[in-house]
Amino acid sequence: MTIAIPVDEGGKTVCVSFGRAPYFLFHDDGTGNTRVLANPAADSPGGAGVKAAQFVADAGADSLIAFRCGQNAAQVFSASNVAIYRAEGVSAEENLKALEAGRLPVLATFHAGFHGAV
């Protein structure tokens, strides 16, 4: 199973933004492999959430851990059967452990977009 996490510069901490996170961490819990890839949507003029979701789905992720996620991205994830979990704390590693232990809640509320605001 592949788990995706939007991460900050350095790849260790969960980024507060999903669509405009600079990187995505992909962790394969079967092999234990972790890759950090640049998010192609980070500097998108619009629709960053859609593009980032497309990227995560194309990378073969089965689950996403994030602090928040927009409605459009959630629609892409729903179509591609990617489960979304709410991150707890900033450490990407701790979140992976928490997910494995079944301690992360499912993210069920999706925002309508911030569009430049934070």
Binding site: P45, G47, V76, A79
Partner: protein, 297 residues
């Protein structure tokens, strides 16, 4: 002459200035481009004679023909399309109606279909018994739940321009005053509203917040090369940084509308200040003259 009325900050008094200016001009067209909350009609109470729907084109994807090649997805600069498990997903509210996806689709699976995003209401102020209404009102209304105001702003401006040429000679029309009540802020829909105008009137509140927003909005007419001037609303104590900035950058301050509680009361009742208050009537006459004379000189 088209006069756009802007203010960076909402609640500064843009509509207040725009409607009173239009009424003062008498033979005029008032265009409400603040399509998310077109409030000018609350003061002008127009008789609406026609309503024109505003459509945008959005892609329609024939999922049987679609081969899932993703050319449309990679083409869309605004990421209004996604492709999951070989099936396209469309986000019409992100779409900018460029039509590019239908052009790049190699199998002709994408066509464009109209989607209504708003309406333009045409009307006039008067009893209807006049041979020719003096003040015509064009109101752009963005449909509830729709996010992009620009198409409705464009349609409002087009309808307003057509109206000012409707039954008048071209030379008369060019003299006719059009007042464009712009949306708040300094985004795309404001740019669209200001771009075609001959003069930009910036309503400013003499506060730190008002000054900050003025500095943002002031870039628009400057960069578009449109002559502009300031009206200070809710004037009391002069706000020194604003006064200094206008003096230094030669931005004329054409009027100062005093902060008066009774004006707030007039406003809250939906009454036109120039009808209810002599001082304001004079002020707006002088303001209009300063703009029109200054614009011709």
């Amino acid at each position: 002459m088209k006069i756009s009325v802007v203010s960076g900050k909402g609640g500064t008094g843009k509509t207040f200035v725009a409607v009173n200016l239009a009424v003062t001009a008498q033979d005029a067209v008032y265009m409400d481009c603040d399509v998310e909350e077109p409030n000018g009609r609350l003061f002008l109470k127009p008789n609406v004679t026609r309503e024109l729907p505003v459509h945008i084109l959005v892609p329609h994807i024939d999922s049987v023909r679609c081969t899932g090649c993703r050319k449309c997805v990679s083409f869309c600069r605004f990421n209004a399309l996604a492709m999951v498990k070989g099936k396209p997903i469309l986000f019409p509210e992100i779409c900018h109606s460029c039509g590019g996806c239908s052009l790049v689709c190699p199998v002709g699976a994408i066509s464009e279909r109209p989607l209504q995003v708003g309406a333009v209401q045409l009307g006039y102020v008067g009893s209807g018994k006049e041979t020719r209404p003096s003040l015509r009102i064009v109101t752009g209304v963005l449909s509830i739940g729709k996010v992009s105001a620009v198409p409705v702003v464009k349609a409002t401006l087009d309808a307003g321009a057509a109206l000012s040429y409707d039954d008048a000679q071209a030379d008369v029309a060019s003299q006719m005053v059009s007042v464009i009540d712009c949306p708040p802020g300094s985004g795309c829909s404001v740019l669209e509203s200001v771009a075609g105008s001959d003069f930009c009137l910036m309503v400013v509140e003499p506060t730190a917040f008002g000054f900050h927003n003025f500095r943002m909005i002031e870039q628009i007419p400057k960069q578009l090369g449109i002559p502009c001037a300031v009206v200070i609303n809710k004037d009391g104590e002069p706000y020194a940084p604003l006064e200094a900035y206008c003096a230094e950058h030669s931005v004329p301050i054409l009027a100062r509308i005093p902060y008066r509680e009774d004006l707030t009361e007039i406003l809250s009742e939906g009454t036109l200040a120039v009808k209810a208050d002599r001082e304001l009537a004079r002020l707006f006459e002088q303001l209009l003259r300063a703009i029109v004379d200054g614009g011709e000189a």
